[in-house]
Amino acid sequence: MNLMISRREMILLVSVATLEIGGRWNSQVHGAEKDLRKAFKKFSRKEELDPLKNVGEAYLQANPSASGVDALLQGLPSGKTLDEDYWASIEKQIQNDYRNGKCTTVNSWILSNTECNLCALLHLVGA
């Protein structure tokens, strides 16, 4: 796997909102805190996180082969830090998913496989 962002960092990424609930933000991803705070601040309430976890759970149930954090991380772009460039690469990959028909219907939503991956990660590590 050529994923340069560490597994621990990605777990931090997808679980940051959960951490934020208790005000226990303690990212060790230097330089990314501000952007991540901004990115996830809309998910500061549990009731706003649960629907995403539900999407992730439903995706995993329909795609058992995608289970496991490592498998899900392999589906994400490589990167060194969780900076703007990394988010841009995520955005690009999502757009390419849509353009190439790499989409899945989950809970009646038509979502890109990358979005489903992220929701599944949130379900696995952020619960």
Partner: protein, 512 residues
């Protein structure tokens, strides 16, 4: 000139040049055209100038829709609520939407059984122009995807161009327009001293000559026991896609299976347009491209719907499919809002400080989908055993959807959802529960295909001049002659075909 059939002496015979049965929007359009070119016209309209319940109740019948071998939904009121029986007809209930069918609707597509017309859209374009003039809307002589009204720009999709924009205009000759518009439209014939418009005149029999190959007269009855006869050189049946069938099948004295029904086709291939809306929603995140062209339905301006492109239909073997946005913007529930925001988040925009100008919450839009239904011989209008106040057999509607119709809807919607993501427009949620689909669909008032056009009498009821096969002087006007219904509101096409028919009648009139 209006003549009330209640005042016509019993047993009288009226002689006419061209007799039009039905004084709806198409009967009037053809009459105007023929009158302007010097031909004599007599219209027989069942209703009055205003709605009358005893006339309207003649429409009653038995109706249902169902998916072959599966769910069924009874529509007990559909047949008498989806049409209006008075001078001007359903124009009094029409929304005024006008558009031109896609070129591919006129072509034979191997993935849509029984699709295609006997001529191309291009051949019909001059008549569409005249129909636009008749309905007082701008002509469709532009490419909607190149229009850039700065206040209402066309949405630019990704390089794959899986979706495009299809333009619509709203005719003012409707209940939406000024009342005087409808009055002027029907008055253009009713006030013409050289056109006779009979009200309360119900045709109960179309009578042929001894050899059965030409119409000699029609028998007319009123709801007050009056009866008289109208003789003419030519007859045009223009009573709508269901009543056209009923009259042909009830006229069975000479032709036991009904007129034009030697091959059992009259009433078959019934189709309409249906909308699917209740369980679908769009979540719009894109702020680059306003959607005013699609959401703000200003009746005075062009407005747009999204459609799958021709190439997408070919690549994925899809039917015609459109998505219309409603102007309302109710709030989504909290669960949907959260997923919508996550989509936004995952587009990277929240993380990018330079994009703070974007609304973090996006917006919500209601949408409704329309999908083309394949012409299906098992979907049909037939006669019922019940009779109406004039002794005419009522109709039974068995509107059948095929599995492919509903699969095509779901597959088209998925393509639309993917393109929303690819273009950055947003995300789509669509619930397609097969066991609920027919319960939530909205059947349109468009009645299509029951006297379909084909050059071969074994495959169609009328020829390319809209003349009934095997009968020298009986023509049919209206959407019942459409071989493929496509997805566009049919009125403009109905009027365009009426212009074509009028030209034909003028041409053969010159030779007569």
């Amino acid at each position: 000139m209006i003549i009330d059939a209640y005042e016509v002496p019993n047993g009288k015979t009226v002689d006419a040049e061209i007799c039009i049965i039905g004084g709806g929007i198409i009967g009037i359009a053809i009459a105007r055209e023929l009158r302007s070119r010097g031909l004599g016209v007599t219209i027989l309209e069942s209703g009055g100038k205003e709605m009358e319940q005893d006339s309207q109740s003649l429409y009653k019948g038995d109706g249902r829709i169902f998916e072959t071998g599966s769910n069924k939904r009874e529509l007990p009121d559909y047949l008498h609520q989806s049409r209006l029986r008075l001078l001007g007809g359903s124009v009094h209930g029409w929304g005024g939407k006008c558009g031109i069918p896609d070129a591919e609707v006129f072509e034979k597509r191997d993935w849509i059984p029984n699709s295609g017309w006997p001529f191309s859209r291009q051949e019909l374009m001059p008549f569409f122009d005249r129909a636009c003039d008749t309905l007082k809307i701008p002509r469709f002589d532009y490419d909607a995807n190149e229009i850039f009204d700065k206040d209402r720009p066309t949405f630019i999709f990704g390089p794959e161009k899986r979706l495009t924009t299809s333009p619509r205009h709203i005719s003012p000759v409707t209940r939406r327009g000024p009342k005087e518009m409808i009055e002027a439209y029907r008055g253009s014939v009713a006030d013409d001293p050289n056109a006779d418009v009979y009200l309360h005149a119900n045709v109960v029999d179309i009578v042929t000559n001894e050899t059965g190959n030409a119409i000699t007269q029609v028998e007319v009855a009123t709801l007050k026991q009056g009866r008289f006869t109208v003789r003419a050189k030519r007859f045009i049946l223009a009573t709508g896609g269901i009543e056209n069938v009923r009259l042909l099948l009830n006229s069975s004295k000479k032709h036991k299976n009904g007129l034009g029904n030697d091959h059992g086709l009259v009433g078959r291939y019934f189709s309409g347009h249906t909308t699917f809306a209740n369980s679908s929603a769009l979540y719009l995140t894109n702020r680059h491209q306003p959607l005013t062209l699609y959401q703000n339905k200003d009746a005075r301006k062009i407005w747009g719907v999204f459609k799958t492109s021709r190439q997408t239909q070919i690549d994925h073997k899809l039917p015609n499919f459109t998505v219309s946005l409603n102007s309302g913007s109710p709030r989504p529930n909290s669960k949907d809002a959260a997923v919508m925001q996550s989509s936004f988040l995952m587009d990277g925009r929240m993380a990018n400080p330079s994009l703070e100008k974007y609304s973090p919450r996006g917006s919500f839009a209601q949408a409704y989908f329309m999908t083309e239904l394949a012409p299906n011989p098992e979907s049909r209008i037939s006669l019922d055993e019940q009779t109406d106040a004039l002794g005419q057999q009522r109709v039974r509607m068995d509107w059948k959807f095929s599995k492919d119709d509903l699969d095509g809807l779901a597959r088209s919607a998925k393509v639309f959802g993917q393109e929303m993501g690819a273009s950055g427009m947003g995300r789509m949620k669509a619930v397609f529960r097969r066991d609920r689909l027919l319960m939530t669909t909205g059947p349109s008032r468009h009645h299509i295909g029951t006297t379909r056009m084909d050059e071969n009498p074994k495959s169609g009821v009328v020829d390319t001049d809209c003349k009934v096969h095997g009968l020298e002087n009986l023509y049919i006007a209206g959407s019942s002659v459409f071989p493929s219904g496509g997805i566009i509101n049919p009125t403009l096409t109905i009027v365009a075909l009426g212009m074509k028919l009028a030209d034909h009648l003028v041409d053969i009139g010159k030779g007569a």
